[in-house]
Each structure stands twice: as C-alpha cells, then as structure tokens.
Subunit: 482 residues, 4 copies
C-alpha cells in the first residue's frame, strides 16, 4: 500500500550506513556508489537494557529483540520521493487536500517536475531545480465530491506523486488518506463536526507465536475481535504501531490513539541524559510517518510518567510543542496516573486518566471518577477540556474461575469491568474509555512478582485470543451505550 | 482416640461459661448445676481482624471463620481425668514411661484412687483425697519389651487411666504414645540414637471444599500423598494442627515439626499489647495437648518474625523458656528469614532458615546456602548446632506451562525445586529440608497483589491435590537421598 | 443416627461367617461362641468383572473395589433388635405411625417385652416368648401434634425400641423417620396431598480423592451445591446410596428417587443366570434398609435395560412385585431409553424417560418431548400416568470453552441444558426433570472411546465440584419454575 | 518464489470463466478480451457436503469454506509460460537437469524463442511457431558443480525461463528446485544413494485463528516446532498442501510425503460416480504443480480407503498409474489400515501402515508390529519392499493430567507414544515412522462423538502449538535414533 522503511541499524558490505534508536519507528538508509554485483546488507538489532537507552527499560510488556517489522530494498536514482503529507480540510462545505511532497535529492542537477494525483484530479507542478537533501513540493487540491472518512464509512483515497524529468517519469510514490477533520469544542472531541464517543481497547503488539512481529493475518484477526466487542477505537499503548496495523484501522474505521514510546518512566528515568533526544526522535518519526492515517485522531505521549514534577512538566511541554510543530490537525493528550498531584493538564487539549477502581483500590468506580473529575475541574488547567479514561481494567487469569469471586478469577474480572464501564459510560462529562487491555501479554521478566504467569493478565482475551468471561460483560456495556 | 475438646467461646443457656483465644488449640468448658431437660450450648466464633487479635492478621493463608474442629459433649461427675502426659525414656537399654495424670476435681471430697495401664502392665496408685481444681498423679512404669517408635516402625502404645472410688471405676481416659527419644548431638538431631535426615513438606490446613476443616479422610489422603513423595516429615506451618492429623502422623511414622501460631509478624505487630499473652496461651496449649505424640520431634515458634531486633529476641526467649518448662524432651527452633541480621540463634537447639534462591533472588541455591551457613558458623550463637532449611520453593500455577520456562510456569517450578533440593540435600552440614509447600492454599484477600489466583501457588500439589510437574523432580530428589 | 451394617463378605478368625453380593447394600454377620481374647475379622471384597456378577459390569461409572462404606462391630446378647420399620399415615386429619420391630433371636428362651417410643409417646408391648430367628412386634401409635415432613420443613422424629427382660433393658435401637404421605392422583404425584414438581439431579457416588467412599463432609458439600442450584431432588443413579447421604437428604428436605443397582443392561446381560437372584437381593435390601427415609418418594429399577423385550418385561414385573410386597407406601418407576419401543409402561405408577435432545440427536427438545409424550398417551399402558424426565443433559469439559460453541465446550453445554430445561419445565403434563448429572464422574476404562478424559463429562460441576458455565443456566431455569 | 494460481471457481464481470473441483490444488483462469477500465473478478467457493462431492465428506478434520490460499492477478500477453518442470539426475557422477517448459499460447502467431537459465548456465532454444494451447520446450542442462539437496544441506537452485520475440523478452517465469535423486533398493529408500530413515509427523493445515488458511509466519512457526522435535519429515495428510509450505520444507531440508485428497473413504464412498474423476484431477494437479519440490520424496494416495476390496484395488491401481505417467522420479505408497485384509501391496513401491497399539487395542506395539510385518512378508505382494509406519499415536487432551494415567490424559499419551516409538524405531526392517499428529485439529461436527472437544486430540502440540507432555518423550525417541 505504501512505501515502507526498514527498522534497526544497518551495515552495507560491512560498513555502517545508518544508525537508529527505537524499535517502533521506521528508518531508511541509502547505500551509495554500489557497483553491480552481490552486496550484503546487515541489520544489527540490540535490545539490551542499559543506561544508553532511556525508553526501553524493563517494563510491563516484553521488549523482544531482532527485526520485527518488514524490511524493503529499493533501487533509487539521483533523487526520489521520500514521503507525502496530505492534510484534508473543509472549506465552504467542500473537501480539499493540501499535499506536501518531500523529495530527497542525492545528486540531481537538472530541473524535475512533480505530477500529483488525488482521486480523479491530477496536477502537474512546474519544474524546479532541487537543492541537495530534502525539497518540498506543495499543492492544494480541491476534491468536491469526496466522501468523508468515518468509522461508519471509512472511505479512503489515494494520493500519487510522480517525479518527471523532461516528461519522463522516473520515481513515484502512492499513499492513502481519508477526508476527515478532528476538532475540540468545549468538552467534546468532534469528528467532522459530530461528537465522538470512544469505546476502546488498549493493545500491545504481542502474540505467543510471533512476539511483537505479528503477521498481517494476525493483526486482521485482532481487529475482527475488537469489532466483535462493539469497540470503535484502539490505543496503541505504549509505542507507535506497525503501519500495516494502522492501514487496517483506516480500512475498518477504527479510531486510533497513537502514542509515542514511553511507559511509566519515573522522574529519575526521565532525567536520563539520553531521554530528551531519544523521545524527540520517536515522536518526530511517529508523527511524520503516520501523519496520513485518517484513523489516528489524537497523539498521546509519555504514559504514566512524572507529570507530577516540574522537571517532568518541562518534558511534557517540549514533546507537545514538537507534535504541534509537525501536525496542526490533531489534538494531543497523555494518560496520567498521578491523580490529584498531576500538574500538566494545562498543556494538552484532552485530559486523560488511567484508573483501576475495585482493582488496585476499593473505592467504587462511580465515586472515584466523580471525585477525580471534580478535582480536575476545580483545581487544574484541565478544567473545561474533553476528558477520557485511557485505562480501566482488572486482572483475570484465563481458565481460573472462582465461585467466590476471588481476584484474578474470570468472574471477578467480568464483574469489575462491568461495574467500571457502567460508571464511566454513564458519566456525562466523559468522552470515552479505553479498557486495559485487548489481550494478555508477556512482560519483562523483572516484573514477574506482581504478574501471574510473567504476563499481564488484564486482557479481555487471553494471549491465544480466547475470550474470557468478561468478553460478554464488556460487549453488553459497549453495545448498550448509544 | 483421645478425648477431644471444643474450640471457640461458649454459651450455655445464654450464659457465658468459657472464652478462648486462638483457633488452633482446643479448650473445654464445664457447665455446672444443670437440671435435667433440654439445654442449649452455643459457640460464638469471631474471625474478624482487629488490634484485639495479635496472631490472626491478614496473611499468606486464609483465616476461615466458624467452628472448624470437632466438638464433643460429655457428662462428667464430681471429678474427672483431664489429660495424661507420658514421657518415654530409656534406662540401661530398656524403655520406661513416666506418666502424669491430671485430674480435675469439681466437688469430690472422698478419696479416689487411680489405676494406670500401659501395654500389659497395670498399676493401682494409692487412694488420695483431691484438692479442688487440678491434681496430678504420677508413676513410672517399666516396659521392658516395648518396641521403639520410628518412621520405619511406628509402634504405638496406649495408656489407660481409670479413676476409682471404693473399687468402682467412675471415669477413665485412654491416650496413645510411642517409645522414642529425641536428642541433639553436635550438628545432628538423633532419634533413638541415630541421626535424622528430614525430607519434609510444610502444610497448611486448607482445602477448596472444606476450608481449614478437613475431614479425616482428606487428612489421610494428604498424608498418602506426602508418603508418595518420599517425604518423612511435615511442618505444621504456621499453627498447631488438628489432633487427628497428628494421630495419623503417629500411625504412619511421619515426623512432625509442630509450630505455634505466628507468621511473618513485624516488630510493630509483635509489639501489639496482646501479643505476649495470646502467644503464651497458644504455645502452652499446643505443648500440653500434643505432648504425647511421638511423631512430634521438635517445637517451632514465631515463623519469620522480628528475630533481628532486641525486642523480638526477648519474645523469642520467653517462648522458648515456656516450652522448656512444659517439655524437657524435645528440641526447639524457629524458621528465620532474617538472613545475616538474625540475632536469636543462641536461643534454640536447632538453627532453621527459610530460603528462596532462584525465586525471590537469582543467586544459585548452593552458593547462597554456603554463604549463609558460613556466616552462621562464624558470627552467631548458632555455630555448631544442627541446621535445617525450613522452607524452600517456587510458585507454579497448575496448568500454566511455559515452553520458555517463565516464572509461575510448572516447568520453572519443577526445575527450580530440583536445583534447590540438589544443593540442599548434598550440603553436608544440613539436617534436612522442608519444601514450601505441600499444596496450594487460599490466602487473605489483602495479599492478592503478589499471589496469583489469591492463592499461594507454591504447592507441589494444587489445591485439588493434583500433582504438578515438580512432583516428579521432588520425588526423584527425595528418593535419591539415602 | 442409625445402626449401620457392614458391607462385603466376612471371615471371623479365618472362618467364613457371611457372604454377600452387591456393593451398594449393607449386610451383617453374627460371630457366635467367641471366647474372650483377640479375634480377627476379615472382609474380602472382590470387584472383578466376570459372568458371576450380573450387575457389576464395565459401565459408564467406575466400579471401585475395597470396603467403601462404614463397618461397625457390636456386641449382641441372646437376642437383639435388627431393624424398625415405620409407616406414617394420616387418619381423619391426624398423623399416626405403624411401627414393626424386627427382633433376631439367637438363643433367648425367656419372654421379652418391647418398649416403643415415638416422639413423646411411649408404649410397652406385652412380653412374649420369641421363636428362633426373626420375630416381629407391631404397634400403631397416634401422633396427633406431629409436624409433617416436607422439603420446606423437613421435620424428623425418632423411633426408639427397647428390649426388656424382667423390666431390665438389654438392647435398643433408635431410628429416624418423618410424617409424610406420597400418592398418585391422575397425572400428578402428591406429597401430603399437594402436587410435587421435581427439579432434580442424578448423582453418582464419586470423587477424585475418595472414589465412591465419600466422607460425610463431602456428601454434605454436594447437597449444599444441589440446593444452590435450586434443585429439590436427587436421583441415586444407579444404585442404593450410602445411608448417611439419605440421612442428610431427610434433614435437608431433598426428595430422593432411589434406584436399585442396574444400568444399561442388554437383553443378553439380563439373561445372565445370576441376574434374577442378584437383582432380587439388592432390591429387597434397598427397600428394607431405607424404608424409613421420608426423603425417598419413589423406587426406581433397572435403568435403561431391555424394557423393549418380553423377557425384559417379565424381569421388570417381578422386581416391581417384589417392591410392592415390601412397601405399599411409595410409587415405582423405571428410567427408559427405549423410546417408542418400550413395552413396560403398564407396570409402574410413573412413566420416566431419559432423553438427550440436541446432544445425541438434533431434534429440538420441545418437539421431541411432545412427540414422545403423545406416543405414550396414545399407544401404551403408561397413558394417564405421571410422567418424569429422569435424564437430560449434555457433555461439557470443564475449562474447554469454544467461541463457536462446539460440542464438549462449556458454552454448548450451558446453552443445550437451558434449551432442554425450558422445553421440559414448560411442558404441562410433565411432573419434573432430573439433569444428568450432578458432577463429572470417572468411568470404567472400557468406556473410554466416547468419554473424554475416561470420565462422563455431563456434570453441572466437574469432579472437583467446580461449577461449569451451565451452572448459571440451570439455576436460572430451576428458579424461574414456580 | 513462484507463480501461484488462485483456488475456487471464478466469475469475471459476472460471467463464469472457470470451474474447479477440490480445495487443495490451484487453478487458473484467463479472462480474454477485457477492455481498459474496472472489472470485477468473483470467486465462488462452495464447501457444502453433498453426493456431488466424493472427496469432501464429513471427516476427522474440518472442511473450512471460503478462499483459503492466495489469489494472484496477472496480465498476460498473447502467450505465456505456464510452468516449468525440472528433473534433476546424475550421470557419471555429475548432476544434470532436464527442463520442460510449458507455454500456453492464446493468440501468438509469430515464432518465439525461449531462454533458459539454471544456476549460472544459460541456453537459448531456437525460435519456434507455437500451436494453439499448450506447447512444450525441453532441454537438458549439465550442472557439473551443483551441490546436492539433502536434509543436512538443503541447497536450492533457480530455473528461469524467458520468452522472447525478436530478441525482446516479453514473459518469464522463475521456479526453484534441488539436485537430488530418490531410489528404492530392496527394503531401503535411498536419497542420493544413502538410506533414508524417516522420523516424521503428520500435519493438517489447521489453526484456531486462521482455519486452514495459515499465514506464512504460522507455517514457518510450525516447521520450527517440527525441527525442535528432531523430526526430519512431514506427511501432508490428507491432501496437497499450500505451496508456500512446500517451499519452506525445501529450504529447511524437511522431507515430505505428499498425499492426494482422500481420507477413510469406504467402499461405498469410493463407488460415488464422481469419485474417479475428482480424484484424478486432484492427483494430476498435485503432481504437476508440486513436481519441482526437492523435499517431496514420495507420493501417497487414498489414506485408509477400501484397499481390502477388488473395486478399491482397481481405484488404487488407476491412481498409481496416473502418478507414474506424470512422474518417473519418485516412489509411491498409501497408508493402509486394513491390516491382514489389505490386497493392494503389490501396487506401490513402499508398504505403509497406520497403527494404534495401546490406543485402539491393547496389544503391545512391538508384538503387533512383528506380527503385521511377518504377514506382509509371507502373504502379500508387499514382501521385500520398504516398510513405513505412516501413523502411530494416542489422544491427549492438553491440560488434562491424570495421576493414574487414564486415557486422554497427557501422561498416558506420553507413555504410549514412547512405547510405540521405541518399538518401531528399533524394528530393523522399518524405514521410519510418522506420528499422528503434529498438532490438535478441529474436526467435522459430525465426528464429535469420539472426538473430545470436537477436535482430534492426538497432537504432540495442542492447537495453540503448546507442547504436551509427550513432546519430551517424542523428542527423546527421535534424538536417540541415529
């Protein structure tokens, strides 16, 4: 569907031609001046934990090693199209698309022209001589009859860019996007002008047979299960996802909260000297690489990090600024677990909380939510903003059933999720909820103490995608919500 | 087999006639002056946690409520035999028994005489006028042909005491005991002069169908399983056990470490103003009620309590003194988890440790044990004493199998137990080992966080007594040890 | 509660003093002329399958060996009371009881008198000289204020018989019974004049820890579960049960269909030359031994045997005649699986069928039931009689869950039981239903081919008494039936 | 890797352009004369059971519906290469390859020439004018330095065919093959002259997430597991497999028994009037499509069909003849379950039996095998031929463990497989063994009665690919066999 780039760090014929931090965003490398014949391309992947790595730390999910997403080799000429960025918008009731085409110039000296096609409309931009490195072509194209993308009707369009020299095409790139606008209006998130209500699940890339490297059929299977639950959204906790997964969400009309790579970093971990740069990279790459996906309606950052400290707040602010500089079309948020000590709610457009009533504490969900929400409105910069629950859930070990409803039993999980969801879904000022989590996942061995089976067992499905008893209670709650 | 007394607190026709602390030792009550007709006996059992109760605290086992051991009503006359204490000993190669008969006098004024029978030997003690309350008759009886009790040949004898008035019997009591002596010689524990090697399991009174109130058939089933493992001992962690269980151990030749009621009390919990008296009561009752069981070869106290503090040490000393005052025939110990900070090893005859190498930490068992043992010998009052491992083990959730041997999987548990046992069983200065634990048990709900299924899953059997994969590795280790 | 008799065949000091066929009824033996001293009583139990045994055959339940019910030794004098038979009945609105006391005379030559006590009423029967062997005393006692026994109020009374010689008591026996009458009126079974509706379960004596020798606590546990289902009856398929179980049913108000020992015998198996006598014995012993239990409201015979053949019919007739000669107070029935070929429905008072719609065939339960019932009314001697479903059910392997509702999954079982029960409970001419079965049971190894786990998996509970998913659907059906 | 063809029956713009029987072989369709613009290609797949279909019948595996293998659309010109058939052979110690290139001519009138490349060697065949329909080019190419393919060194080579017109390439096809020869010598099967010993598993295409449509990653996962067992072969019971799976076997050096589509057809089912033609089609397509795979060392037909009847024998003979006409390079066999009644062993080169000692009967494996083998040698046309066990195994329900080793428990399965394998692997005249089966599979609902979970549970792995206890016993047996 789209040009895809390899992940990792790379050696060509034994010589390093690229290095890249982070497992969850793509990178590319150009090997220049190769003669005809056999060449060797090596990818060296390193998943060791160390102070060198600020984001990959022992965590409540598994950090697998190796090359876990597709690799593609392509022959390029003197210049080539690197990516296209399409921003749909509405003007006077009709759809338009602003396209920016990023062309990488290796050695081209002659003028090149760019042909752009969106749907049935084609435009030939005037020839230009390229600077070295990155060049941007831009155009605004009116698409009067375009169908809007929505969960109910996930209409997709292709954008085609073709580089020509003297009328002869020599490079092209096709990408896909949808016509839709996200906006914030008071306490509501609007999609094409109508309020969104999120019934979502958080999902890790994890499978007992494939680790984090799920084949396409497994991704599609997961999304069928998500739909069978009556859910309309997925949160890609806690890192940018495989682009094929996002493609499927685009096609199926599943809204996506995409998140940069960070989970539960303490203040001390955020003070790692590498943190700022590594987080900047993954965030930039996430937004640039996934910009065109209509399913992504929000960017999330820094899940459960130190948003209760001044140092932390500076980091949150910097990352939010970066996202805004790269994308003016989507709201931003972060999932907080700092309860009444969070000091960052003035920064994003949407206030989000991870809560676990009746699991990590005994306060009933409704009471807990009302108390928390009241505090946000009265005492924080988040007052008046849309409000999301980004995690709620309970552990349940598949096959462990308890007639007396012990914790970790499937019955307790089912009852607790029902109680939590009923409280949240009926809370008037809430824009939606994400359940933690779609399916059980493997975790870092270091976390075994509080994680039966050395797994996080809060899945609605177990790791083999078998529905637990809570499947029915979640589905009933999601379907009863208009 | 023996007169058994009810547990709890009691009301007779609505009037309180007795109160008793602790669920794990028996008590009796005499209702006096009842007229002929129907009467009501009520037992009020209270299992709430509160500061009133120093020993029953939320813990790594379940504190069930209700009446969980047998209740017996008996009609007594003006005086009756309360209990018999038999102490076997060897003199010039032959067995003797010293019997003390405790007679409770309610209102008898005439002289009574006591007839005593052990095996085939009978002795009539001269008549005596009884004081009010408790009176003691004592006699030493020579039993020249007696067979010694041992695990290989658990020969049991009965002692019969009969109260007579003017040649007419009016009360009797029959109890059972065995001829055997326990001694300490250097680093060895001796049974009838030969060194003991303990291959044991710790066991809670717990069953999914009966809570802590196991019927006799369920106890017998458990002990069959213990034998099938090749084990020769049970530790009644962490409280005195049902006397029928001890009867079975006597009959089957299973050695018992019986323990008073306490588990993991912190210094603060030991400082509860009720602690001293409540612990004194359960300890006294345990020793008095279970004195005659030949299977009990050692008394344990205060498992994993604050033996690293001066305050704690004073408590340990007081309890050890109490035991010695009640029983001069058995060694004493306690199971420590204080590693190199324990200061109490000068007090008991046997040094005991609970260790969990490769479970709670990664140091291999052999290395860990050698280090610990070296410290005890070099730096503590425990030097030169017998040394036991009173707990070793790993969690394994029945049915959770992990090809990559994750923690909580049955494979990991099996491998870890094998590694632990091989290290311990081949450690020359160790007198034996208890595995934690016989079977999975239910725990206090408050402990759910680190306890999958709200259970302690370190059983060799699950709660339904199904063998886990570790059954085979434990059996192999136990059988390979001569 | 009652005198209990040992089971098996017996040797006293190596000499055979009794022989007994069948594992499911009690027998006794008198050892005469023993001198003072030690004697040996041996019980030899033989559970081999062979042509010698017509009733114990490889079957859909396990035939365990050994002594599986209690054994009691008692010292008797020259004569003793063997049993009491109490028949309650109503005359002019008040309860009476006819008591027959069976006295066994070994050697008594002097006249003896019998004192009889029911509730508060006592009667001294005139002295009589006993014949050798069995003698019967009889009396009718009026009990004007007696409370009737019913499931709602299971009031029990004791009957005491005392043998006296010259005013001196020398033997007694206490038994228990209840005041209640069973009658048939048209298509209804009446208990104390009101129609009964049976919501029952079939239950085998089986447990993974104890085989068929369940301890009392395990029986009580099972009956708690039966009550938790909203059931009011148990069918003791396919043999007479342990008397302690019947005692508990009496106390808890659980109605019992007690059944003689036979399951699925083919015509050929019924033609075993031993069949007639062996079946006669177990039937006679069942009725005689369990006559007093108020909970037993019906006698069943010959489950799923050859009731479609003339030979078979003669056997059914003979057994029904025997029962009537022993007991005129209860109706009789048999559970048929012969569908439209059964020829025995003219014999009993109640017509009963075992059916498995949607399990062994695909016809929906309602349609199947209507068809079968119509045939019985139109074409058999069972027309106009009460009609029971004595088995209905489906297999479900605990822990096997199937999102697509495959057979053997818990979901399929839950749905099927709900469909079956809804059809039956709403069928107007049906007097009730027994679910096959209470809990999963072990079977004869020979039956493994169609029995996953070498067990019958149709239990509402698994063998460990864990509720399957169908527990909720059964409970809902039972509770919704007025 | 290879041109792949779609499966099913096809409509182009609503007009039928192809029909095809059988789900397990590929077919293609050419849509002619399409104008530029959008066209619709529909595939209608029908998996209903009916007398129309002789091979798809309710069976011990699931017949899924839909399109379960890849579909590919390709634009072809006036003529195109349909397939290449490569036959490697050795002459005077050096490898050669005979290539036949099948060219389909739609409308080409001008002469075309064919360029052929194997490894480094290229040959240009002289131009020729094509007949309508299928044309064959053939050439023999000497490959002196070629590495032989073997399980230890699965060296693969590509063959490239290019169609040229006037020196201009306009169609090509690349396929892959290996240099190896299979031969029969007495009782041995030889690979490149050395005797083969088969340690194999039978495998169905089945997975709980994907039905029979496993993605490539799932196939690769399965083959990793096969290798982890120490196995060297897979039997594609009971139909031709997805070509990507065969590609992986080629690459991994896993020998393949590929089998046409038929399982357990009775004489009556073989007499279905459609049987002969439908079987002929799948057999022809299997051999033609998979001819080049070096991993396939034998063709199997008609598993467990009526090889004990004359009618059946005629069918077997016809299919064997067909295979021989299409492929002279591989031996042929069939898996019999007719024991001493089979009459077809004179037909194939290899005699094969499916046996289940200690599962379906109680005769020990060694005794059973010796008896059967003796009969084959003494009384059949199979005497002196290589002898394979094509199925052996036992059912084991994952997670069902039985301390008393009941059938269906994992322990019984592990012990039985070990006993079976030890007998077979030490039987001197046996060329190897296939275990039934790799993993548990779903079956046709009609077979539920003898199939717990409505699945065939004889897998070494369960359906989720979790190793059962037998994994270790199988691996030990396979690894101990030199």
């Amino acid at each position: 569907m789209q040009r895809r780039e390899p992940y990792g760090s790379r050696l060509c014929d034994g010589k390093q031609i690229a290095a890249h931090y982070n497992a969850y965003t793509a990178f590319s490398a150009v090997a220049r001046g190769l003669r005809a014949g056999r060449h060797t391309l090596e990818i060296v992947a390193d998943n060791r934990f160390s102070p060198e790595s600020a984001l990959h730390v022992p965590n409540d999910y598994m950090s697998y090693g190796g090359v876990s997403r597709p690799v593609l080799a392509e022959q390029v000429g003197s210049c080539y199209i690197e990516r296209i960025r399409v921003t749909p918008f509405r003007r006077e009731g009709a759809w338009l698309a602003r396209a920016e085409i990023f062309v990488s110039n290796l050695s081209e000296r002659a003028p090149v022209s760019l042909r752009l096609r969106i749907g049935e409309t084609e435009r030939l931009l005037p020839p230009a001589r390229l600077a070295d490195g990155l060049n941007v072509f831009a155009a605004e194209i009116s698409c009067p009859g375009a169908r809007a993308w929505s969960p109910q009707d996930p209409a997709l369009y292709t954008v085609t860019a073709i580089l020509e020299k003297e009328g002869e095409a020599f490079d092209d790139l096709i990408d896909r996007f949808g016509f839709r606008e996200i906006a914030i209006e008071g306490k509501r998130i609007l999609l094409n002008g109508a309020p969104l209500y999120i019934r979502g699940v958080c999902r890790h890339e994890d499978h007992p047979q494939y680790g984090c490297a799920l084949p396409f059929a497994a991704m599609a299977y997961d999304l069928q299960l998500v739909k069978s639950l009556g859910a309309n959204s997925v949160r890609t906790a806690h890192y940018p996802n495989d682009e094929r997964f996002l493609d499927l969400c685009d096609e199926l009309g599943i809204l996506v909260w995409e998140e940069n790579h960070a989970r539960g970093l303490s203040l001390e971990q955020m003070q790692n000297p590498r943190f700022e740069q590594q987080a900047e990279e993954v965030t930039r790459e996430m937004v640039e690489q996934h910009y065109n996906h209509p399913s992504i309606y929000i960017w999330g950052i820094l899940n459960e990090c130190a948003s209760d400290s001044e140092y932390g707040k500076a980091c949150y602010a910097k990352q939010f600024d970066l996202i805004r500089s790269l994308d003016q079309s989507r709201p931003r948020s972060f999932a907080s677990c700092k309860f009444k000590t969070d000091i960052c709610f003035d920064l994003p457009e949407v206030v989000s909380y991870n809560i676990y009533p009746q699991w990590y504490h005994d306060t009933p969900a409704g009471e807990y939510l009302a108390d928390l929400y009241g505090w946000v409105q009265r005492e924080t910069g988040g007052a008046g903003k849309p409000f999301l629950i980004t995690e709620v859930g309970a552990g349940g070990i598949y096959g462990y059933r308890s007639a007396y409803k012990a914790k970790w039993g499937e019955e307790y999980q089912a009852d607790t999720l029902r109680d939590q969801l009923e409280a949240i879904l009926s809370f008037p000022d809430c824009s939606g909820v994400y359940i933690w989590q779609f399916a059980d996942i493997r975790i870092s061995e270091e976390w075994w103490g509080t994680r039966p089976r050395t797994m996080n067992n809060k899945g609605i499905f177990d790791e083999y995608r078998r529905p637990k008893l809570c499947f029915e209670s979640v589905r009933a709650c999601f379907q009863n919500r208009p």
